[in-house]
């Protein structure tokens, strides 16, 4: 018997197939299950006991993998900021270094080839097992044993042996002198963290271990996560008092903390306006929009400039000193003197940045230890502009001029020296186009009839400013301001916006870029090693190869000598460290490999509907970001409103 399928039957089959195809994924989505998760339904978290923040680094790509020692695991989704305790962490708001699972500073041998670290007693992992020196020893030995760990090479290169002198003291024997070895454990948005021996020792290959659920010494433990990576929820440990956070600061207040992914700024603003997001991190315009609409939201500062201006990074302009004419210090200084910093910061950040004349930001201990003590030197510092003439470029009045412009535009803020210094800095450089002209003429540059600058070859001088394609970030903001200033001065300057900014900068394929002009300092303590060492000549690679130091590729024998002396100095000898660090900063100013402009500023909006007592500028008891590792130290100070 045969049965022919008619066209009509076939069409019906096709329609049915299409219907199944359409409905199938919905069923699959619902049916997919998650390892080690309890089924939970919408509304599991009581809002008045729940704190909601944003995942800074985007949707989590590896939601069920918490092994942050291998590759990149989105640790700002609560791993580093809630569930983990490092040995130490930096608090850039107070300038202090906070002991986590360490009980104090490390002690180095005189020749820096060994050190001992005291550990805090009474700490337990979130599964109840006690934390001890055995965990530290096991972590280091395991990192050295498996090549897949991020820190494998560092420890193999540096560590001869590691041992527990007792349950709470660890000793390292190093392969060569290294006075900064301990900083690998110092958390500054990342460090070598300790993992629990009793869990990792059960794994055949710990680099493939997913470490789910995460177990740490922090005050929170993993509650659940979205298999799509949209959110990760953490719950307060019952034994929070066995975490260093609990021991030092008391009971964390939120019962649940959720880190949620927001794909764009608009969604963050809407979420906070509807009280579904306690902390929003926005652009300047986004923060303005939020504050204009929300009666329950506040910014870091209660008055202008509103912004978070104590981030440990200095923004500005980086020159490619491996490419002419930026290899010439006169040209670099000429480009600096062609900038009117008042206009510049007005364009870049609406006059809200804190100026710094040196290659570190004006925050924490740095004004006290470096920027203020360097004022006399800066005032006396001169540059040779040719024909035997010198010029003193420093301008201690620049911050006042920035403040005056902001006030003239209607912003209201305190008018006292302390506020001005904190918000606008202690000084910057003069706007001196005449001196910039002399420096350029000294080097064979000239102007055409229209006032445009010509190179010594008679060509129109073109400067291309490399910048990333996220135009709200500070690299692009500095680029826009600098290009405007240099165009006004007669240079054919333009922005080159590209997705590949970081790659092009790394291989030296640029003139000028918006990379930070110096590597970020620790943000706490006086040690400048982290910043200065990136100008080490041994890291500089030829253009075309990825450089290992700062992308500006600048170095000098004098700076090499300063770095070498710093390496031989005890990092806890404050006086000696500041003296050498000051020398390093002076060497950078003299050579100006990049122009420091204003400290990094963030735009944070806090909703006070459910939680108050934020670490704002008037009460800066901790750094203000929820993605930073020491956010956990804020949790005991938050106050619940009960949603009233």
């Amino acid at each position: 018997m045969s049965h022919e399928i008619s066209r009509r039957d076939l069409m019906k089959l096709l329609a049915a197939g299409t219907g199944g195809f359409v409905l199938g994924p919905w069923t699959f989505m619902s049916a997919s299950s998650v390892e080690a998760q309890d089924a939970a339904l919408p509304g599991t978290f009581p809002r008045e006991q729940t704190f909601i923040a944003r995942i800074l680094t985007g949707r989590v790509g590896t939601p069920d993998n918490f092994n942050q020692w291998v590759g990149w695991k989105w640790q700002d989704r609560g791993m580093q900021n809630l569930a983990d305790e490092p040995l130490w962490s930096v608090d850039f708001a107070t300038g202090d270094i906070i002991n986590g699972v360490a009980a104090g500073d490390p002690t180095y041998s005189e020749d820096f080839t060994s050190l001992t670290i005291p550990l805090r007693e009474g700490v337990a992992w979130s599964d109840g097992e006690p934390f001890s020196a055995a965990d530290v020893v096991y972590t280091v030995e395991t990192l050295m044993a498996f090549e897949g760990f991020n820190a494998h090479t560092f420890f193999v290169d540096n560590v001869e042996s590691v041992s527990a002198l007792d349950d709470y003291t660890v000793e390292f024997q190093l392969k060569q002198a290294n006075s900064r070895f301990h900083t690998t454990f110092l958390d500054r948005w990342g460090c070598t963290r300790i993992f629990p021996k009793h869990i990792f020792e059960q794994q055949e290959d710990p680099t493939l271990f997913t470490f789910n659920p995460y177990v740490g010494c922090g005050p929170y433990k993993l509650h659940s996560f979205d298999p799509q990576g949209s959110w990760t929820a953490w719950e307060k440990r019952e034994d929070w008092d066995k975490s260093p956070t609990g021991i030092m600061y008391g009971e964390p207040q939120p019962q649940f903390i959720i880190y949620q992914y927001f794909a764009d700024e608009g969604a963050q603003i809407l979420a906070q306006l509807t009280h579904q997001l306690d902390v929003a991190e926005l652009s300047a315009d986004g923060l303005k929009a939020l504050l204009a609409q929300a009666s329950t939201s506040r910014a870091y500062q209660p008055t202008f400039p509103f912004v978070v201006n104590n981030d440990p990074a200095i923004t500005g302009i980086t020159f490619n000193t491996a490419r002419a004419p930026f290899d010439n210090v006169d040209i670099r200084w000429a480009l600096l003197l062609a900038i009117d910093i008042v206009e510049y910061t007005s364009i870049a950040v609406d006059s809200s940045g804190t100026l710094s004349p040196v290659h570190i930001p004006h925050l924490g201990p740095y004004p006290r230890d470096y920027i203020a003590p360097m004022q006399d030197w800066l005032s006396e510092f001169t540059i040779d502009v040719g024909d035997g003439e010198t010029f003193a470029p420093y301008d201690s009045e620049a911050p006042q001029r920035v403040a005056d412009l902001a006030r003239s535009r209607g912003y209201i803020f305190p008018d006292d020296d302390e506020f001005r210094a904190k918000s606008f800095g202690l000084g910057w450089y003069k706007f001196a186009p005449d001196m910039a002209e002399k420096l350029l003429v000294k080097n064979g540059y000239s102007r055409d009839g229209d006032g445009n600058w010509l190179t010594p070859d008679g060509e129109r001088w073109k400067v291309v400013f490399l910048t990333p394609n996220v135009l709200s970030n500070h690299g692009a903001r500095n680029a826009a301001a600098a290009v405007q200033q240099w165009k006004k001065f007669g240079i054919d300057a333009e922005m080159f916006v590209t997705e590949s900014q970081a790659d092009l900068a790394a291989v030296g394929d640029f003139d000028v870029s918006g990379d930070w002009p110096a590597y970020e300092p620790w943000g706490a303590g006086p040690d400048m090693y982290r910043t200065l060492d990136r100008w080490n000549s041994s890291y500089v690679k030829p253009v075309g190869d990825r450089t290992q130091g700062h992308v500006g590729r600048w170095s000098s024998p004098e700076m090499d000598d300063i770095i070498a002396r710093l390496r031989e100095t005890d990092p806890f000898d404050t006086e000696a460290v500041i003296a050498i660090g000051t020398e390093g900063l002076k060497e950078a100013v003299k050579n100006m490999p990049g122009i420091p402009t204003y400290g990094y500023i963030g735009f944070v909006g806090w909703d006070e509907t459910y939680w108050t007592n934020w670490p704002g500028s008037e009460n800066a008891y901790n750094q203000p970001y929820t993605h930073w590792p020491n956010f956990k130290y804020t949790t005991p100070f938050l106050q619940s409103t009960g949603g009233s």
């Binding site: 919905w26 619902s30 909601i52 790509g61 799509q228 927001f262 608009g266 809407l270 790659d503």
Partner: protein, 335 residues
Amino acid sequence: MTFVKRYLIPRLIQYFLVIWLGITVVFFIPRLTPNDPVMKMIDQMRARGSTLEPGAMDDIIEDLTQMYGLEGSWGEQYVDFWARLVQGDFGVSFFQFPARVNDLIAVALPWTLGLLLTATAISWTIGNITGGLAGYYTRKRWSKALDAVAMVIRPLPYYVFAFILLLLFAYVVRWFPITGGASLGAIPTFSWDYIKDVLWHSFLPGLSLVVLGGAVNFQIMKLLVQNVNAESYVQYAKLGGVTEDRIVGKYIIRNAMLPQITGLALSLGQIFSGALITEIVFGYPGLGMLLFRAIANGDYNLIMGITILSIVGITTAILILDLTYPLFDPRVRYT
């Protein structure tokens, strides 16, 4: 047999050739961009404070290159790649190491398919039905009203339109959530509560796609119907006393549908590329953002995995359309 010899076999050869060529091009293009996955990972780790001594960088680069399977020439990598691919293995994601590309796609794909298949099917159906009727009954008031609405909606940039929907329905009247594919705390389970939650979260993204897609289909179908309506055989049918329902259904819409069926097949094939802007505006999970992140980070294996799906999807859709076209257009015969 004539059909098999003269049409099916050459068409299948062409099908596999296009897929091979597409995959080969996609294999080499990411390697020609300045995005080096090893350096991207190092940059990411360095930017995030991991311990990477500048002096030890060469060793770290070597370790990561080995770990990612990027050793050897492009030719050797190409051979290795095909050896894996024939076993259905796209390898590991570099940026989301050690997650397997197959797993990442398996997690994101149902969301993309669920949203885009539904939205495409609804917008195509509604757009064509309303467009067809509006094209025939051009003088009716409702036809003019629909046309005016489509004229306003269609030129709107998708991002703007989607954000307006979000503002209206998630903020002003607060009927729908602002972001995400499901509620905070909702864990995937095969339960009505979870399905309801997913549908609730998918409504606005789906609506944005349906309305804009529907407006496009409406306008195209309306024009097609107007053209067919002016054909002499339609006029002849009217004069011959054929019922209006039959004229609209059998004479006009059926003929006008043909280009729309081709368009539907292509739309279905393109679904595998995801809907990046929808995913950004509504924070919806899916392949679009996964692909965007893979490209930005030079994640060759993940780029390959998603684009291969897309290449196979589009070529298969066209193949099926070619083979089934006689069902829709009896004038086409492969004999």
